[in-house]
């Protein structure tokens, strides 16, 4: 089993290569078959290896396979080596499983597109890169996957490249994440010079002996890695690219910008948790970033028109929850929320994609409405996803994962009441914007007629995902409802358990408060948007509310701020210096020479007598010098 590890990433890669080499000549059926098949096979291999791993591997064992030595320079010897442990298993499973569902969906969704094969090629390449990211045994190989997913994200956001806006969104996404990546590269350098290796297991094993806790170097390294994570995972302040990234096709948003790539930061921090545990400050910053992000993105989500942008902000906000969990040391809770979020957010995006396509590429929720009866299947699956997102108690998977995070935000040793309060307020907002989205889209009067209904290829993945969005929560239940801990037991092979400061017996109070927050959010929006819509109309007339609304709508003005502080100066300097000021200096030398030349050539009159005069003057000067000296 161990030796088949390479197959997991190799299959998508093979699919990619085949599509690139021969995509133009294959029929669309074959293209879809290649694209979907490679990922599905990869998922099967994953399940096989995963079962084998669960049944046979002992606690600390990892599956490890070295393919070849990448390079060997001095002592620097990174390998192309894969390694599978519980944490990467969860990620690989999510990537391949959800990935194959989304591929199936795309086979229907993209059927009419002329660049069918390019789409699947990019998607396969993405899955390959993502798998490399989570399977890599050293940080450098992970960096390869890390940048690779960035490239695919770029290619897929700009998939419909003929509209320049899509291209700019893609570029923005790439450049902003590159900022984080660069910080991460610096982190890698620091780690290499501190530990003499980039192999993650060795780093984790040696960290405690190399570094004292809370030393500046530990904090700086952790923060550099965090910066990498913030870029990829769209956390404050590098979050601005994700809403724009919705320019890509919906399956792309589902796979890359909801389920997998954007959680790479979560994976990185969980993977390097040993380093973060060595620096309380860094971990506090992780929690702080998560908390602030979830709130900021939540408010923005509340004010969007575009259904995909709502989901995008909600993704940012949910990843904020994961960061919060990581920050308070609730490692397993973060990963659990990642998995659940992957299910329901992929579901929401796919369902939203189905709606958008059905309405003839209409993104604006205010132009939707009344779809409840017209697209019942999409409605019900969307509803399940939305329930999970707003953490509807007991029946939704999202409840179990988010509840865990809320509880740890209070109860963990590193938690605090403020973090808990932000988290629960965030839960309230989440419920609110989810309900708003549901009401605007599915209730009310029909504002746009549907063109055509989604086909089977699109609906089946929705149903499967909806199923998991309910069921997946039950693999990890809080101690007061059944205390079933399958998931965290698995992950505790890799990740430490959370140290609590509060008594577990008080957990029910917090669960109750979480209920209230969720229902409060739903109720509030229900009142304002459904039962008494005139109230919202009245609010809209208020000018201070209006400006607040606009402020939130524009993502708290981060885009404008960055434009003002970074982008515009850069572009301005680049533009004014287009002709290279240094060259002006050399031009100056040239023109001085030229002037001198004109000056001197004016003396070359061709008059012989004048030349002789010059000779005489020269002789006078030379002799004069001789006399004087």
């Amino acid at each position: 089993m161990n030796n088949l590890l390479w197959l997991i990433p190799a299959l998508p890669l093979a699919g990619f290569l085949l599509l690139v080499a021969a995509g133009k000549h294959l029929s669309s059926k074959l293209v879809a078959l290649t694209g979907v098949g490679s990922i599905s096979l990869s998922a099967l291999v994953t399940i096989m290896i995963g079962l084998n791993f669960l049944s046979s591997a002992t606690d600390k064992e990892t599956y490890h396979q070295t393919l070849w030595t990448w390079m060997d320079v001095g002592g620097f010897r990174p390998e192309i080596a894969l390694s599978l442990d519980a944490l990467s298993l969860v990620f690989v499973f999510v990537i391949t499983f959800i990935g194959s569902l989304i591929h199936v969906y795309s086979a229907g969704f993209m059927a009419a597109d002329k660049d069918y094969s390019r789409f699947f090629a990019c998607m396969n390449l993405f899955v390959f890169s993502m798998l490399i990211l989570v399977l890599a045994d050293n940080l450098l190989l992970m960096y390869l996957g890390w940048e690779g997913v960035g490239l695919c994200s770029y290619l897929l956001i700009g998939f419909w490249y003929e509209n320049p806006a899509n291209g700019y969104a893609a570029r923005k996404a790439f450049v902003i994440t590159r900022i984080g990546d660069t910080a991460m590269a610096l982190g890698l350098f620091t780690i290499y010079y501190q530990f003499g290796t980039l192999v993650m297991s060795e780093i984790s094993a040696n960290a405690a002996s190399v570094w004292q806790p809370n030393t500046p170097i530990a904090t700086v390294t952790a923060l550099l890695l965090l910066a990498g994570g913030m870029g990829k995972s769209a956390q404050l302040p590098l979050q601005t690219w994700l809403p724009d990234a919705m320019a890509g096709p919906s399956p792309v948003s589902a796979l890359i910008h909801a389920a997998t790539m954007v959680t790479a930061g979560v994976y990185l921090i969980a993977r390097m948790h040993v380093l973060f545990e060595l620096s309380a400050l860094a971990q506090m910053i992780v929690a702080g970033v998560g908390a602030v992000t979830l709130l900021v993105a939540g408010f923005s989500a509340l004010t969007q028109y575009d259904i995909k942008r709502v989901l995008a902000y909600s993704t940012i906000s949910q990843i904020g929850y994961m960061f919060l969990a990581l920050g308070v040391g609730a490692w397993t809770a973060a990963i659990f929320h990642f998995m659940i979020h992957a299910f329901f957010k992929a579901l929401l995006f796919l369902a939203a994609g189905a709606i958008i396509e059905a309405l003839g590429h209409e993104h604006n929720m205010f132009k939707m409405g009344g779809l409840k009866d017209k697209m019942p299947l999409v409605f019900w699956t969307f509803l399940i996803g939305a329930a999970s997102l707003s953490a509807l108690p007991l029946i939704s998977a999202g409840f179990y994962s988010k509840d865990q995070i809320l509880w740890y935000a209070w109860a963990s040793e590193k938690g605090s009441p403020i973090l808990w309060f932000i988290a629960i307020f965030g839960a309230f907002i989440t419920a609110a914007y989810t309900t708003r989205m549901m009401i605007l889209t599915f209730w009310g009067v029909t504002r746009t007629e549907i063109g055509h209904h989604p086909g089977k290829l699109m609906t089946i993945p929705l149903i499967i995902l909806a199923f998991f969005s309910v069921v997946a929560g039950f693999i990890e239940l809080p101690h007061n409802f059944g205390h079933f801990t399958l998931f965290s037991d698995l992950l505790h092979r890799v990740l430490p358990s959370t140290v609590l400061q509060a008594d577990e017996s008080s957990e029910w109070k917090f669960q109750l408060l979480a209920f209230l927050a969720t229902f409060g959010g739903i109720y509030l929006v229900f009142i304002y948007y459904y039962r008494e819509p005139y109230k919202i109309e009245r609010l809209r007339e208020n000018s201070s509310f209006q400006s607040l609304y606009r402020f939130w709508h524009n993502g708290w003005g981060f885009d404008r701020l960055f434009d003002l502080v970074f982008v515009n100066p850069f572009v301005f300097i680049a533009q004014i210096n287009k002709r290279d000021i240094v060259d002006r200096f050399y031009d100056g030398i040239t023109s001085v020479t030229e002037h001198l030349y004109r000056l001197l050539s004016a003396t070359q009159t061709g008059s012989l007598r004048w030349y002789i005069m010059g000779m005489v003057i020269g002789a006078i000067i030379i002799l004069g010098l001789q006399i004087m000296l």
């Binding site: 004016a602 003396t603 009159t605 061709g606 012989l608 007598r609 002789i612 005489v616």
Partner: protein
């Protein structure tokens, strides 16, 4: 045979001749006069050589004079041939009219 004529005086004479030659070259516009003035200058330097040779009792000064003579002969023959041609082509010996270079 002794005399009160010192090298200084002879050299001064050479210098005077030379300067006169230069003046001639500069102030005259006619090429023939310029050529004559050049001859004066050559003579002046020949005088300096001969005087110096006599001062040291060596024949080298006169040898140099002979070389100057040879050179002067060559120069004059070429120069005069050129003058002939110039006169044929331009119908003038005015050096200022002959300039074709416009700097």
């Amino acid at each position: 045979m002794s005399s009160s004529v010192s090298t200084e005086i002879v050299m001064l004479l050479a210098a005077l001749l030379f300067v006169l030659g230069i003046t001639g070259v500069i102030i005259r516009k006619n090429i023939i006069f310029m050529l004559l003035s050049v001859e004066i200058m050559l003579n002046a330097s020949g005088l300096a050589f001969v005087a110096a040779g006599s001062r040291w009792g060596q024949p080298d000064g006169q040898v140099m004079f002979i070389f100057i003579l040879a050179m002067a002969a060559a120069e004059v023959s070429i120069g005069l041939a050129l003058i002939l041609q110039i006169y044929h082509q331009h119908k003038s010996l005015d050096i200022d009219k002959l300039r074709e270079m416009n700097g």
